[in-house]
Symmetry: none
Subunit: 312 residues, 4 copies
Amino acid sequence: MPREPRMDAALVLDRDRVVWIREGRRVRRGDMIAIGKAEDGSEGIYVHSLEDDDDTGEFRFMTSQVSREKPIDYSLMAQILIDERDRGGYPILVTGPALVHSRARADMVWFIENHFVGALLAGNAVAVHDIEASIYGTTLGMTQTGVASSGGHGLHMRAINQVRAAGSIAAAVERGIVKNGIMHALVTHKVPFVLTGSIRDDGPLPEVITDNLEAQDAMRAHTKKATLAVLVATALHAIATGNMLPAFVTNEDGSLRELPTICVDSSEFVVSKLKDRGTHQAFGVVTNAQDFMHILRLYVEREITARTTHYT
Amino acid sequence: MPREPRMDAALVLDRDRVVWIREGRRVRRGDMIAIGKAEDGSEGIYVHSLEDDDDTGEFRFMTSQVSREKPIDYSLMAQILIDERDRGGYPILVTGPALVHSRARADMVWFIENHFVGALLAGNAVAVHDIEASIYGTTLGMTQTGVASSGGHGLHMRAINQVRAAGSIAAAVERGIVKNGIMHALVTHKVPFVLTGSIRDDGPLPEVITDNLEAQDAMRAHTKKATLAVLVATALHAIATGNMLPAFVTNEDGSLRELPTICVDSSEFVVSKLKDRGTHQAFGVVTNAQDFMHILRLYVEREITARTTHYT
Amino acid sequence: MPREPRMDAALVLDRDRVVWIREGRRVRRGDMIAIGKAEDGSEGIYVHSLEDDDDTGEFRFMTSQVSREKPIDYSLMAQILIDERDRGGYPILVTGPALVHSRARADMVWFIENHFVGALLAGNAVAVHDIEASIYGTTLGMTQTGVASSGGHGLHMRAINQVRAAGSIAAAVERGIVKNGIMHALVTHKVPFVLTGSIRDDGPLPEVITDNLEAQDAMRAHTKKATLAVLVATALHAIATGNMLPAFVTNEDGSLRELPTICVDSSEFVVSKLKDRGTHQAFGVVTNAQDFMHILRLYVEREITARTTHYT
Amino acid sequence: MPREPRMDAALVLDRDRVVWIREGRRVRRGDMIAIGKAEDGSEGIYVHSLEDDDDTGEFRFMTSQVSREKPIDYSLMAQILIDERDRGGYPILVTGPALVHSRARADMVWFIENHFVGALLAGNAVAVHDIEASIYGTTLGMTQTGVASSGGHGLHMRAINQVRAAGSIAAAVERGIVKNGIMHALVTHKVPFVLTGSIRDDGPLPEVITDNLEAQDAMRAHTKKATLAVLVATALHAIATGNMLPAFVTNEDGSLRELPTICVDSSEFVVSKLKDRGTHQAFGVVTNAQDFMHILRLYVEREITARTTHYT
């Protein structure tokens, strides 16, 4: 048995043939040190761990699958998005209102206009804030720079009233009440959307499905066709959608591929929870929703340019 | 004084010159509505807020109102709970399923049995996990010590099926299918509960109100009578309830007292969000739901003993 | 292949021998349903998962090891604490200042007085706030109920000055300047403590070791004897200690037992991080530090009573 | 005007009637110290704060100053960075290792190369991971796509050993051992850096200052010259630096401007804590460190292009 064991330190054999564990800074020239280069014990040190029968024998760290400290592979995600679009896939975008509170609204419109969104699943608030931004230039009364505007707390209610007076979001777009933004892009590009209600809703807007079972059926009509899911800044909708997603997509030749699921949230909690429920294939991005959309768009644009250049 | 006050709603004057607070969707053509456009009260509505009288100009730190590093005054909360119970108040308890995943279930039953709960507002999952615990001894397949049981992932579905076969939760209690726990205590002690649905729900259980507008109305029937609100481990239900709560309770002599709101969550985010929406009087507790319930019960028991001793 | 696959739903065989996945609420009397009772596929349904070669075949969820939604086994922790004390173990307590901001100070004193602490490892702030609480009744200027006191922002500096004038914490205790609290209990009961410095420190207090390598050596002198570690509300000290802890303790008969490590934090992040670094045997508690200490003490007291009763 | 202002320190009048701000440990017997006991300025010290002039009495929401749901004004931050660079300001960059785990390393190099960094303040880990990335292509054994590499857990130790063998980071750069990255850019562009130690450190690297008081002095040498501070993904270093920063910078004409402080973290907690300690002028960005650096660079590049275009 080594004396004074700890991690991140060296095995030192002293003159009495006793093994000590010593921090690097305590090791001296001439000390006998055990050196292991192979992880499987074939060369030098064999690691035996009592826990986890399924262990491959290797000592590891940084193995948790969701962490704000892991690199985010935007390049890979950009490739997946473009591949799905170009093969005629059905990507569903599921989002919470944090995305609309921000610059990300313009990026989202870009994704819709460039055919990266097969369907949008969201709640009342996403549409309300987006339409408030279109009509009044604010979201929940905040300007684009995050400053509360005078009287701003009532603007989302006035936005709801304008749409209800028009009869529907589609009608409000057609009449020019809603001139830009996410809902405008969806209506204009005929991308289907499902707005599901919750007990937190003001209004709600006319298209919102207030019965949860009807809402689940409406969502299901899209998830069963999904070939890719991007879930941004929403615990409720992300987990509801995760429950409905197939694990695999059937290729044309009958073989299967895993349905890629990108889950973005500002904490590890939601993504880990999604995995806990059995959505194995989710890969998690712990970041701010608006930053995610902006960088993802940037990488998609670069990748499109690279592919265009390459093929010509 | 307006009747049935809440936030995010309109002031409506009826034919008897009584002012009511009404959600936008309840306002009808021809109703007399108070309209305020200026924020300073110069036009229409003057807002009087009691808060922020204590701004003394002093340099301060640790002034953020919600922090895991602030002491939690369980003693004061225990006094408020007992006072409300003893004066015949109407405390509403709003909770998420994290509370049922745990030992806190027994503490919750104690609060119900000892008349500290006027009504319970929750979602499908709270009732499902509680009933799974009663029938199978697990919550989402985990035993009380947090270990996943073999085949446990299906037990909540089996619990739902048993209640649906019985016809209702109340029937399942009466037939002895559900023998203990929160729902059992509510049914046995005739404490009303509202279970509202969401798009995440399995099942749902028979009593769950799946339409959100109906669900809001059912919640509202209790929040308008509330004299105290305790919101534990739920963002969705806490904020939905916060939207509906009056800021003040009218005392018998016509004077007002602030409606105390206790909001418990494992992160600062939900409580801060509740305050951001204008629920000034919320005081926040950043802790684990089961630990909160356990210590609160302990303090309530001590306070009851102290009062009994004192008065005899 | 089943049609419309999703999780949490039933396998239904229709008249054309096609398998559909259907939510429970869509299943009708008379439908042909696949039923599986054994998890290993021996009866009914065999689960095949492509991911994770190490999978035991069972479909699982709630398998992440650290979650605020998992039950906390205070009973088991209480038993471990008492067992270690009674077998003459060397439990080390590592804590951050959040514990001192609060009621937990009294509980901590109780643990020291009842011989549950072999050594305390902490930073300057823990001692500063504890001594401020003893002299002025505040922590960082906040009263015990969390209210900022007038002039309170300077009290921790005044506390430091008083101890520096006395020459050491021990001297300040002996001279009656520090009359109660954690540092008082440590000095009075001759429990060793290590206070390590950081670049955030005010002061620091005289006993604080400002050189990090010296500080590591001082901590190491205790960790190498440790038979139990309790890490509360500190990322810096918890991970520094985790790096130094042995994974096993040698029993008297030469056999090994895992060194139990209890890690308490208000978020999953620190505990997961500790595990990521290879501290396998850590078990995580996601809660508020003061609530943890209070309930743990309660369970230890109950267990002591139970053992006393049992053995007499 | 006092010289070298910072928080949590004393006002000392020297023989030339100049007021200096001095940490308690630098005050000597006989020094003339300003003492204030009343908070309202009636006795000793009158505190004048510019903030809170905008409290208009208006009912507001979304008023909490730090939230993941607030828009991030990258455009304004980019303008501030360029303005400070172009007026010859002294921007200090303070960062934790999460920034190096990732793509952000390349962006950081860009900022150094383009003269946006007056000095870098960080801990041992930032330099270790950066140098590991340069020598082995991994950070804590993870590849750039976040995959654990075989044997990777030891690479940061091997990186430390290589630098220690070279004698210093600067020597390792000169000898071509470290060929790229943050430390390489700092050495090559002669940008000063301070690496301060902590009890969590492996190694440490030769330049790391292991004594905390010396480390504070070394940091202070830069903070007292700072005209802008950017604090990314570090609680320890951000708060230590926040303690040392002046609130104002003196313009050439003797007038004052607030010292802008940009604090980036993945949770609201650190930024709120910084504000709680009195760093009023901090503005908080709740996002992922690598995403922040990438977008900030993008906006700075755009702004530079816009200014160039505009002025020609």
